[in-house]
Symmetry: C2
Amino acid sequence: MQVLLTLNPPPFLKEDMHATFPQIYFHYEKLSAAENILPHAEIIVTYGEDLTVEHLEKAKRLKWIMVASAGLEKMPLAQIAERNILVTNARGIHKIPMAEFTIGLLLQHMKQFPVIWQQERENIWNKRVPMGELYGKTIMVVGAGAIGSEIAKLSKAFSMTTIGVNASGNSVAYFDQMLRADEIAEGLKRTDFVVSVLPSTEKTQHFFQKEHFIAMKESAVFINIGRGDVVQESVLIDALKKEEIAHAYLDVFQTEPLPADHPFWSMNNLTVTPHISSKSKQYLPRVFDIWKHNLHTYIRNGNDYLNVIDLKRGY
Amino acid sequence: MQVLLTLNPPPFLKEDMHATFPQIYFHYEKLSAAENILPHAEIIVTYGEDLTVEHLEKAKRLKWIMVASAGLEKMPLAQIAERNILVTNARGIHKIPMAEFTIGLLLQHMKQFPVIWQQERENIWNKRVPMGELYGKTIMVVGAGAIGSEIAKLSKAFSMTTIGVNASGNSVAYFDQMLRADEIAEGLKRTDFVVSVLPSTEKTQHFFQKEHFIAMKESAVFINIGRGDVVQESVLIDALKKEEIAHAYLDVFQTEPLPADHPFWSMNNLTVTPHISSKSKQYLPRVFDIWKHNLHTYIRNGNDYLNVIDLKRGY
């Protein structure tokens, strides 16, 4: 059996895979250079951004596509469905790094680490830094799914009150209270930290409105690790200039990379991070855990695949 | 009844206390200016650093000293014991801020926040920052008491393995494994984060030796939030220069404030914080929670005091 990986994993992952599946021949090649391999490949492992209809036509023996990310937007799903090709992905692997990143931001905000590091650079011993706590605070996660639940799990360990917001208002693990999207104004008044994990859809575009920021506490912190278009830049800039909230931490933007002359960079109560909340040295190892599990299943013709995509729904 | 507070709490705490205990007359005065109050005070609330034998002699009616900190080293304990004066303190209120501070340092280390903030200052969008996780790491807390257990509690929420070290090796909540002090060398090899919460005693002085740092992983992080004399400065500097460990975060030092020309300030793999791990806006509110509980007990002549000091043992 031949498998084509369009990514080049580090040696320790390759060696582990080769030792675990000695009967399989693994090719590591970009699709653009895989002309001769495609007709023989039963399985393709890809980040999902490179696979075209033309590749698919050449891959006559293809039975399974393992997508090494959560996104499928760029895949020719209709043609894949026609051929009844199995598609699995790597959803669920972002929740740990994103939750740790979020709590890390909250702690460095409450403990004033940027102020302390500035003092340190100047050899200044100054204890008069007003330090707060996460203990007893209230966090609202808007877009409460697997990632939001992981954020809530860590928040509960810090004795925070957790409010989750999703379309249905149905309960999600580790949230003390759930609100539907149309109910959040009341919850915002009680909230210290507002975290958006919302994806970009028609319903979420410009979800956060002027009145939401007015409803928030003046000490509130807004964190966006979902998608940039959930709030209009002008609305957020206005709220921060009027000090309706204390600080915004943005990891996602309407235009990425954020242009070097964008006003966000120079605002004191806004911090820019370059879309890295899910970055982790554990990313590929976790992809490979899912991939190896599914490859065992494939070999023994089992049916316990992880993360199978329903090609009609597209997720 | 008259009570002397040698500290000046913020208005909201005073107002709460006056409303809760309308029958009591509260004086707020430094001991040096309390000549006329001392003879009438039944109770003194103090940080414990200002009370002398002379004050004690003037305070003829004194029955109870509430120390608004954990330290009693500067108190005339023998004379207090002679007069059978009750002493209570505020131990236990440091664990939440110190545990949050510790996890905050670990997260900002693994997420490379100082690198990201430097990029941000220069309007640089650079995603190539190697970010790690707390998930799956091993943390060792040396001096595993109430504070250490709180650190371990948070660490478990991040799915870390927790190793506690204390004199007896007896189990402490939230630690997966306990080691006695003489057993730590083996544990250090498996440890990613070594946190010292050790107090300063004869037994803990220079506790961390050259060979301990050699035993640690090259990627290990050493955090000291206990007392500065648990490691000789020259030993630590040597270990960091030889890159036997990756980084040290020090909040406590043999000499405080750390002199402006001290070599620690300029080392890239050592970060200085100015003895602030226990700092918190919640400090006095927590002191007053204990104080109010005990004052209710005192008034009704009860016996459920919190944090009574055994004056023979001194803690």
